[in-house]
Structures are given as structure tokens and as C-alpha cells.
């Protein structure tokens, strides 16, 4: 494995390490660090002084702004300097400024979080790190000079004594390569932590955009459902009604009777198909009554009996409900198509901050995620919400599909499960004719 940082270099075998450039690079890094720190202090002090003196005039304000932005320059230098002891480049975490002009640049930079992190680094570097750099470099330099140089500047000792000191200085100097490299490595790691783009800044953006895509998808589904419902379905209902009325007007022996009847039949079939289509696009009951009710409707149309075991204290966030719903539908479709099961169970519960969804069947098992796109599609769907799906399906069954969906944190109100809003009258007064109601004579 190639060595990329000073800290990693410490793990090399001593013979390799001591002959490598790392101790020297570390020494150079720390020496420059001390210099940069002092230059920073000088610059900042002059900015403060200039700002204070000139603040009588308004331009002094510029001095303070420059002070706030000084971290950017320090960080710029630091990122270059870091290359001495850290071979992986640090990208500039600043976003490009969208507008031209100095004012826009200043305003944009002041709004960036990383600008303030860099200012913090500059302060830390000037206040503490550069002194420590100087201390380490100075200490090491002093030790080396004091030991190896002993024969030259210690006059009041016999030569063989000072020579012994110098001799002892050789291993000491070699050993000192370690603390130098260690401090340089630690300091570089600190600098990287503060100056590199936050590791998850990019990743968060990716996840968000995926979530946005899914949201957009869901909005689009609803729009399509609405359009079909308000447009095509209404017209088909009206068409079917008109054909029904036309049939009533036609004498049965009329030559038009048969084609009209056929047309009526076709219109009704089209309505049935459209109804199924609309339902598949987005079930209204999911929005209205939540996951348990929507899954209940699906379960009741399944070709095999499906038991439901739902223990959900409240409505879940919409994205979670929609995902869980489609996962269940897909899973039940698979059960019906492939498993040969005679019974299935869907259970859902909340465990800590996760929705656990389980679809279990008593079929023959052997479901293979790599065989079809169904299970992979489920995994993709769940991945967007950071969820996961696992399938256990030994040959001979049973198959258990388990999906976990984390509930988004910070999601404010979760409305309670909508209770049946039917206020029952306390005492029904039967007087309206309900002729057939009591016809049974048991």
C-alpha cells in the first residue's frame, strides 16, 4: 500500500522510514508552519490596527471584513503546504461565486460555512499551532545542535567527554525523527479535518437529490391519477351512461341494438381497466386512511388469504407509507405468482425509529434475488430512504421478506391514525320501511 501521509509513514519499518524523505518533509512542514503562523499574526494585527484606525473613516470596515475573510487565504496556503506531508490533494471546499464583482464575492463567502471554519483554523494556527510547531522544531534543533555540536562549543570539558556526548547525539537525533513526523502527521490530520470539504457534504447532496427525485415521482403519480380520474374516467362514466340510456330507448329487435350493446360492454370494460390502472398508480385510501387500510384493501383482493398484523401507533411520514405500500404490493404479487403458498402474513411495527415490515408465506421458497428484477427493484426503492430489504427463502420454504425503513428524524407532526369519523346515534329509531330486513324467519 502506498504511504500517503506522515502518520502512515510512521508504520514503516525503521530502516525504511529513516531513509525516506518523510522526517525531512515533516521538519520542513513544521518549520513553514511556524513561519506561516507568525506571518498570519502579523497580518491580522495590522488588519486590526488598520481597521481600528481607519474606522473613523468608513473604509475601516473593509479592514474588519478582510479580517473575517483572512482565513480563506490562510487555508489556501495551508492546503498547498499540506502536500508536503499528505499526498492526497484537498479540494477547495468553496463553492464558485455565482455573480461577478467583489461585493458579491464577499457576501457569498461570508455566507459559506466553510469560510468560518477556515477563520477558526487561522485563529487556531496563529494562536496555538504555530507556537507548537516552533517549539517542536526549536526543541529538536536545539537537542541536535547541543549534542552533535558539543565538541565544538563545550570548552571546559575534556574532548573525550564532549565527543561521547556527540556520539550519544547520533541515536538521539535518529529517534527524534519520530516525534517530528508524528507531530507533523497529527497537525496535518487536524488541518485536513478542518479544511477539507466535509466528507458528507457531497454525499448528503446526492441522497437529497435522490429523495427529491422520488418525491417528484410521487407528485407525478398523483397528478396522473388526478388527471385520469377527473378526465378519462368521468368521460367514460358519462359515455357508458349515455349508451345505457340509448339501449333503453332502442327496441330490442332494432338493428342498432346489438352494436350499441357491444359498445356499452366495451365502455364498461374500459372503465374497469382504467379503474385498475388508476388504483395501481396511486391508491386514494393510502392518502386518506394510511398504510394499514391500504394494505388491507390489497390483501382482500389477493388470490390467497392474507393475514394482517399491524401495530402502528400513528400515521407514518408519507414517503415511508408510500414506499412500504408498494413494497408490500410487490411482495404479495410475488407470493401469488411464484411461491405456491396457501397463506401469507403481512406484519408491520415500529421498532425504535424504524418501520419493520415483514411479508411471510408458507410457499415452496427458493426465491432468488438475482433471478428477477422484482426484489432488486424493492431494494432500490428502499435504498432511497436508507432502508433495506432482506429475503430468507430456503428451498421448501417458508419465504420471509423483511424490509426496514428508517423514519425520518425531525419530521414534525405525525397525525394520529384517523379514527372512523362516524358518530353513531345513541338510539336508532326504526321507522323507515326496511321491508326485507326482517323477512327471515329463522
Amino acid at each position: 500500500m502506498p504511504i500517503r501521509t506522515a502518520l502512515e509513514a510512521l508504520s514503516l519499518r525503521p530502516t525504511v522510514f529513516l531513509r525516506s524523505a518523510w522526517p525531512w518533509l515533516s521538519l520542513a512542514y513544521l518549520s513553514v508552519g511556524a513561519l506561516v503562523g507568525w506571518v498570519t499574526i502579523l497580518a491580522v494585527t495590522s488588519l486590526v490596527i488598520a481597521g481600528t484606525l481607519l474606522s473613523v473613516l468608513v473604509v475601516g470596515f473593509a479592514g474588519f471584513v478582510a479580517l473575517l475573510l483572512s482565513g480563506i487565504v490562510v487555508a489556501q496556503v495551508e492546503r498547498r503546504r499540506l502536500r508536503l506531508v499528505d499526498r492526497s490533494e484537498i479540494p477547495d471546499p468553496h463553492q464558485p461565486v455565482p455573480e461577478p464583482g467583489l461585493r458579491a464575492w464577499v457576501r457569498f463567502r461570508l455566507r459559506e460555512e466553510v469560510t468560518w471554519r477556515e477563520l477558526g483554523y487561522a485563529a487556531l494556527s496563529a494562536g496555538l499551532l504555530c507556537w507548537m510547531d516552533a517549539l517542536v522544531v526549536g526543541g529538536v534543533g536545539y537537542t541536535v545542535v547541543a549534542t552533535l555540536g558539543a565538541p565544538w562549543f563545550i570548552d571546559d570539558e575534556p574532548l573525550h567527554n564532549t565527543f561521547l556526548i556527540a556520539l550519544a547525539g547520533i541515536p538521539l537525533t535518529i529517534v527524534l525523527a519520530y516525534p517530528i513526523t508524528a507531530w507533523a502527521g497529527a497537525r496535518a490530520a487536524m488541518a485536513r479535518a478542518m479544511l477539507a470539504p466535509r466528507t458528507d457534504e457531497k454525499l448528503v447532496e446526492v441522497t437529497r437529490s435522490r429523495a427529491r427525485l422520488v418525491d417528484a415521482f410521487e407528485v407525478e403519480r398523483r397528478r396522473i391519477e388526478r388527471d385520469l380520474h377527473d378526465g378519462a374516467q368521468q368521460r367514460l362514466v358519462a359515455l357508458s351512461m349515455q349508451l345505457g340510456l340509448a339501449r333503453l330507448e332502442l327496441p330490442p329487435e332494432s338493428p342498432a341494438a346489438e352494436p350499441i350493446a357491444a359498445a356499452h360492454e366495451l365502455a364498461k370494460q374500459a372503465l374497469t381497466e382504467l379503474r385498475e390502472l388508476i388504483r395501481g398508480v396511486h391508491p386514494q385510501v393510502l392518502t386518506g386512511r394510511g398504510l394499514a387500510a391500504a394494505v388491507g384493501e390489497v390483501a382482500s383482493t389477493a388470490p390467497i388469504p392474507v393475514d394482517l398484523d399491524f401495530d402502528l401507533p400513528s400515521r407514518l411520514p408519507q414517503t415511508v407509507e408510500v414506499t412500504a405500500y408498494f413494497v408490500t404490493v410487490e411482495a404479495l404479487t410475488n407470493v401469488a405468482k411464484h411461491s405456491g403458498a396457501s397463506r401469507a402474513t403481512v406484519s408491520a411495527r415500529i421498532l425504535q425509529d424504524k418501520l419493520l415490515l415483514e411479508v411471510r408465506d408458507d410457499g415452496r421458497g427458493g426465491a432468488d434475488p438475482s433471478a428477477g428484477t422484482g426484489l432488486v427493484g424493492l431494494a432500490d426503492r428502499l435504498a432511497v430512504l436508507d432502508g433495506a430489504v432482506t429475503v430468507s427463502s430456503p428451498r421448501g420454504g417458508p419465504t420471509v421478506l423483511r424490509a426496514e425503513v428508517p423514519l425520518p428524524v425531525g419530521e414534525e407532526q405525525l397525525p394520529p391514525v384517523q379514527e372512523k369519523p362516524a358518530p353513531r346515534p345513541t338510539k336508532p329509531q326504526p321507522d323507515r320501511g326496511f321491508a326485507s330486513a326482517d323477512q327471515e324467519r329463522s
Binding site: 357508458s240 349508451l243 345505457g244 379503474r275 392518502t287 346515534p425 336508532p428 327471515e440
Partner: protein, 216 residues
């Protein structure tokens, strides 16, 4: 039955006018035809219709305003016959509706049924006369479920229950199943017993049987 005074609530203009025209042709009087649930709740006490026909989904949020309006209206007047038209079969909605008000004079039909002109008008008249009509599609789905307490019913008893849910009389059930009316009465008696609905219950046992069915 003719000359019913009907209030229609439906946001789609073509369907609303179509249904109104159709009902007039069958000799009923459409006293009000409105486009949203708020208006429906407003006009019903004014006109005191014999029956309300409402779509489930209506403005402003297009979820289940029509159904909620129906339930509200029946809370105010438990005996107001209401026929709800649904975009598709929702047992949840059907059960909520059947639970509302006095247990009769309720209908829950797929919107598609409007095309079956005579059946639709028949169903409307049935509901207006206080019977319960549940869409055959709901019933068909329920037949697929075999859960307590329904699993104790025989296949024939389930058939009878399904037809009861559609609001048919014993005579009509007998005709549909090609058996005698006495046999139908026997089946009904035994299925009511199996559903724990003893003969002395003062609620309408047929409707309760259908409800038991719906709740599965």
C-alpha cells in the same frame, strides 16, 4: 317507486348533469345538484331530499370529502338515505359508511355502475326505501376472504350473504340461486346464528351480517 326528491353531489360536470338527466327520465326530481361537499351539507337541510347521491372524492382536497359529508349528514339525520359512489372499491370506506347513522338506507356503489342505467336506478330506489346496497364488487372481494367469523359459513351461506349485501330480498335471492324461498330463509337463519346474531337482537340483523362481512 318514482318521484323521489334527490340531491346530487359530484364535482365532474358531465357526470353530474348526466345522472341528473337520467334520474329525471325515470321520473325523479333532482332538487339540487352541487359540486362540493360543503355545499352538499348546506343544501340537504334546505331541501330535505328523499335520498342523497354523492361522489366520494370532491373538492377541495379530493380525498374523501363526499364520504365524510355523507357520514356527517347521517349523524345529523340517521335515517337519511345516502348512496355513495366510489371511484373504486374500498372496503374501509364502505364499512365506515355502513357504520354511520341508523343501519339502513345506505348504498355504496362503484361509479362504473351508473352505466348500468336500470340497475343503478333500482339500487337508488332500494336505498331510498331504506335498504342497504353494497356493490357486488365489494362483495366479490369479500368472498375471497376466509377469515373469522366468516370461515364457519358454508359456501352456499356465503353466497346468500353476498346477495343480502347487495340488498336483495329473500325472494330475489331465491330466484338468483334457483332455490325455494324457504331454503333461503333457512340459510339466512343458520348464517345469522353462526355470526352470533341472535333472533332477539333489535338491530337489523341483515345489515349487521353484512357489516360482520365487511369487517372480516
Amino acid at each position: 317507486m318514482s318521484g323521489l326528491r334527490v340531491v346530487i353531489a359530484e364535482d365532474g360536470l358531465i357526470v353530474r348533469e348526466g345522472v341528473a338527466g337520467m334520474l329525471r327520465r325515470f321520473g325523479h326530481e333532482v332538487v339540487a345538484a352541487v359540486g362540493d361537499a360543503d355545499e352538499l351539507i348546506k343544501v340537504v337541510p334546505e331541501h330535505k331530499p328523499d335520498i342523497v347521491v354523492t361522489d366520494v372524492r370532491m373538492p377541495p382536497s379530493f380525498s374523501d370529502e363526499g364520504l365524510q359529508a355523507a357520514i356527517t349528514l347521517r349523524a345529523a339525520d340517521p335515517q337519511l338515505p345516502v348512496l355513495v359512489l366510489s371511484q373504486y372499491v374500498e372496503q374501509t370506506y364502505a364499512a365506515e359508511l355502513l357504520d354511520s347513522g341508523y343501519m339502513a338506507g345506505v348504498g355504496y356503489l362503484l361509479k362504473d355502475r351508473i352505466g348500468e342505467v336500470t340497475e343503478f336506478v333500482d339500487a337508488l330506489e332500494e336505498v331510498a326505501s331504506g335498504r342497504t346496497v353494497v356493490d357486488p364488487e365489494v362483495v366479490r372481494q369479500l368472498l375471497g376472504r376466509r377469515r373469522d367469523p366468516l370461515h364457519r359459513l358454508t359456501a352456499r351461506e356465503r353466497e346468500v350473504l353476498a346477495l343480502m349485501a347487495e340488498g336483495r330480498s329473500n325472494a330475489a335471492i331465491a330466484r338468483a340461486l334457483v332455490v325455494t324461498e324457504a331454503a333461503v330463509a333457512k340459510h339466512i337463519g343458520s348464517l345469522l346464528t353462526k355470526l352470533d346474531l341472535p333472533p332477539d337482537a333489535d338491530d337489523h340483523r341483515r345489515v349487521r351480517a353484512v357489516l360482520a362481512y365487511l369487517r372480516g
